[in-house]
Amino acid sequence: MTRENLQKAFLTLVLIIVFGLPLILRSPTYLHILVLLYLYAYLTTSWNLVGGFAGVLPLGHAAFFGIGAYTSTVLYVQYGVSPWFGMVLGGVLASITGVMIGLPTFKMRGAYFALATIAFGEGMRVMVENIDHLGPFNINGPRGLQIPPLNVGLANLMFTNKEPYYYIILVMLIAVLAVTYFISRSRLGYYLNAGGEEPEAAMSLGVNVARCKLIAMAMSSFLTALAGSFYAQFSLFIHPKSVISLDLSFEIAFIALIGGRGSIVGPVLGALLLRPVSDFSRIYFGATLPGLHLIIFGMVLILVMIYLPRGLQQPLTKAYNGLLNRLDRRSR
């Protein structure tokens, strides 16, 4: 087999496994964990469009997640609008917001952007916690919103068992990976990388760096908001501390950075490796050793930044390529 065929075979195998998994794994608990795992992989991949490719450090993505969650939920619960529509609308709103934050800050030192996104995320949470009614919409302040589990079905993005959620988030994850792949090979991807690494040089080569970053920000916040709507429909209960938390913003960034920002597989790998760590340490040590998984996250982050600045994907990609080469040569 040639290299390309090997790669295709590998990809097919992965797809067969992930699509077939629910047929074997019938436990709702495991499916629940997997849905969240894919959700994180999706979020980190969306984050990576700005945090990785554009070379800036957004630390307030939970705000976009929250915009998505609240938009679709309010529209659905109070006006009966299909969550699918709310999802798209939330994406658009998040996108506009993302551009508004990027506009003043992308021209400045990266630190400003990082700080602005944190303040924006926290400001958003405080706002939602304080507002019961936003015009005609009831967002219910700190108490959050519940989605009554009636009218189950695809049109309402609501199901009684976990499998449909599993497949929906899986398809969303594959789609966002595909988008990332195409962007990374397109002019925009080259421009984002160039502008992130050496802005002055990029500008001299015809790159409007700030505009490219804005485009990336618009896409990233749009995609993040879609996940927010999905999460709301999946958990049927949202409140400001769960969907607009600083912890969520940082966790997304951490996972992507440890996995390897700027690469396509990095963020997914990060979620794959780190989500189980936090799930299991919460389950087994949550009572005795609280915060253990965060210590592990922090330590791993420091070590990875010092020894593998391009993340865990660096050695793994190398190993994978080595394996492909070996198989390739053997088959000749």
Binding site: F120, N130, L246, P290, G298, M299, M305, I306
Partner: protein, 295 residues
């Protein structure tokens, strides 16, 4: 009317302590050009050191400065030397090492959660506290005594750091490095030694802030996060890298937080702080006293 004056004064006092917590942040940024996300955690460490010193020895809280300042200086010095320096070296060509920001975030997570693991989530207050609830009556207004001391500490520390940077040869070396690290190293200044020292001083000022907080503030593992976020806002308001700006920015926040609740729900006052921050970013990103950056 008296209420508002009283709130304003208490706001200024508390705000100056916020400013003191942010002082190290702005100093470290000025020299290393890096936002130290672990700064709040360093403050938290300082608070635990002070707390245990008072609890174990029964000494007056302010006496613990003798211990806290050197301990925190060394902590900051070696934190920079061991954890942060390697990344600077690896990315010496990068103009703004984002990776360093990320590592300080890792430090934040480790410190906060390690503290949680060791000391548990409890809120702690010092028992033998001569300053508890002490008030000064001034023309019908009640002014908190420990906050008054905190205010004095903030102003003195800021003045001391400022004079140190302006008048001593070490201070001048630090400023030279902050302006142009390559030129400074050509002049024989050891860049990383300066970074260590600046980090040490910044951490020590967080220690001073911690000591002034301990008599009237709860000590718990995530206490730093509150001050962290405030600190970020303060340094942007005041101008990243400006020492006077940090104190003034802190006072602005303090006044909003204490006077605001007269007119609205207390949580809204918090919202106003974020709003003000974003407004500054749009209108005057260099802050009150900051310089505009080159790009």
């Amino acid at each position: 009317m008296v209420f508002i004056l009283e709130d304003t004064i208490n706001g200024i006092l508390m705000g100056s302590i916020y400013g003191l917590t942010a002082l190290g942040l702005t100093l470290i940024f000025g020299v290393l050009k890096v936002i130290n996300f672990a700064h709040g955690s360093l403050l938290m460490v300082g608070m635990y050191v002070a707390y245990w010193a008072v609890t174990l020895s029964g000494a007056h809280p302010y006496l613990t400065l003798i211990l806290v300042i050197p301990v925190m200086y060394l902590f900051g010095y070696y934190l920079q030397d061991i954890v942060i320096k390697p990344i600077f070296k690896a990315e010496s060509e990068v103009r703004e090492p984002i990776t360093v920001i990320i590592v300080t975030t890792g430090v934040w997570y480790v410190l906060d959660n390690l503290t949680l693991l060791i000391f548990g989530p409890h809120y702690r207050t010092i028992q033998e506290n001569p300053l508890r609830g002490k008030m000064l009556e001034l023309g019908g207004m009640l002014i908190s005594v420990p906050k008054l001391w905190g205010f004095s500490a903030a102003v003195l520390t800021a003045a001391a750091v400022y004079l140190f940077l302006q008048k001593t040869s070490m201070g001048r070396a630090i400023r030279a490095t902050s302006l142009d690290r390559e030129a400074a190293s050509l002049m024989g200044i050891k860049q990383f030694k300066i970074y260590n020292i600046a980090f040490g001083i910044g951490t020590a000022t967080a220690g001073i802030a911690a000591v002034t907080l301990v008599p009237f503030y709860n000590v718990f593992p995530t206490v730093g996060v509150l001050f962290d976020i405030k600190g970020f806002i303060i340094v942007v308001l005041g101008g990243l890298g400006s020492i006077g700006g940090a104190i003034l920015g802190g006072m602005i926040i303090g006044v909003i937080e204490s006077v605001g609740p007269q007119f609205m729900a207390a949580t809204w006052a918090e919202g106003i702080v974020y709003g003000l921050f974003l407004l500054f970013l749009f209108v005057k990103p260099s802050g009150l006293f900051g310089v505009r950056y080159d790009w």
